[in-house]
């Protein structure tokens, strides 16, 4: 037992964290942009 995780492979966990983060933030951004387009598209301001 060397008390260290050096050299171990965590690609799956790291990828999961980054992808989940990107998806969630991307999703709410996309939603906000869609709502904005919907209301400003028909606006004759």
């Amino acid at each position: 037992m060397d008390g260290s995780l050096m050299g171990e492979d965590f690609t799956l966990a790291i990828t999961a964290c980054w992808v989940i983060s990107a998806l969630c933030l991307g999703a709410i951004a996309a939603w906000a942009v869609a709502r904005y387009r919907k209301v400003s598209g028909n606006d004759h301001d």
Binding site: M1, D2, G3, S4, L5, E8
Partner: protein
């Protein structure tokens, strides 16, 4: 029509009333919640360091937690899946036996928190073993370089490098 005019005509008194109301309600509720949290927190012990661990009779078979550092060289693999090791807070030391799978960070001179029961003979039987790491980050290369340059001891004392390098 502008938005500003009606607002100025709105009595200043009402705004001050709301400010006072907020200044009363919010701190009162906030304080109440804060105190409750502190009170609950104080009554629960997250883990005992070895020096504070009550005696087996006091604990009476309750599940509790023990936290400290793994004593270097104390880890022994049993015949099957059980492992034993000693946990210390540099004042007292407790022997722990466990069947649980050990986390990757578990090792000599690493922090550990175990959950289980205290046997009559003072051995802690852990159902769960969790590794605890501190808040320091150091690149592996830097640690290697320190080791080579002989400055490792200096940094170990500062608590910046893990102890068993």
């Amino acid at each position: 029509m502008t938005e500003e005019q009606p607002k100025k005509r709105m009595p200043r008194r009402r705004r001050q009333q709301r400010l006072m109301l907020a200044a009363l309600i919010v701190p009162a509720l906030t304080g109440a919640i804060g105190l409750a949290v502190i009170a609950i927190g104080q009554s629960q012990v997250y883990f005992y360091p070895p020096r504070d661990l009550p005696s087996p009779s006091e604990l009476d078979g309750r599940t509790v937690r023990l936290g400290g550092m793994v004593v270097e060289g104390s880890i022994e693999q049993g015949l099957e899946t059980d492992t034993s090791f000693r946990v210390t807070d540099y004042v007292e030391t407790v022997t722990v036996v466990t069947n649980d799978m050990l986390p990757g960070l578990f090792g000599d001179n690493q922090g550990v928190v175990v959950q289980g029961t205290l046997a009559a003979d003072g051995t802690f039987i852990a159902a769960r073993v969790m590794a605890k790491h501190d808040e320091n980050y150091m690149p592996a290369e830097v640690a290697d370089a320190l080791e080579e340059s002989g400055r490792l001891e200096e940094y170990k004392k500062k608590g910046l490098v893990e102890q068993d390098r």
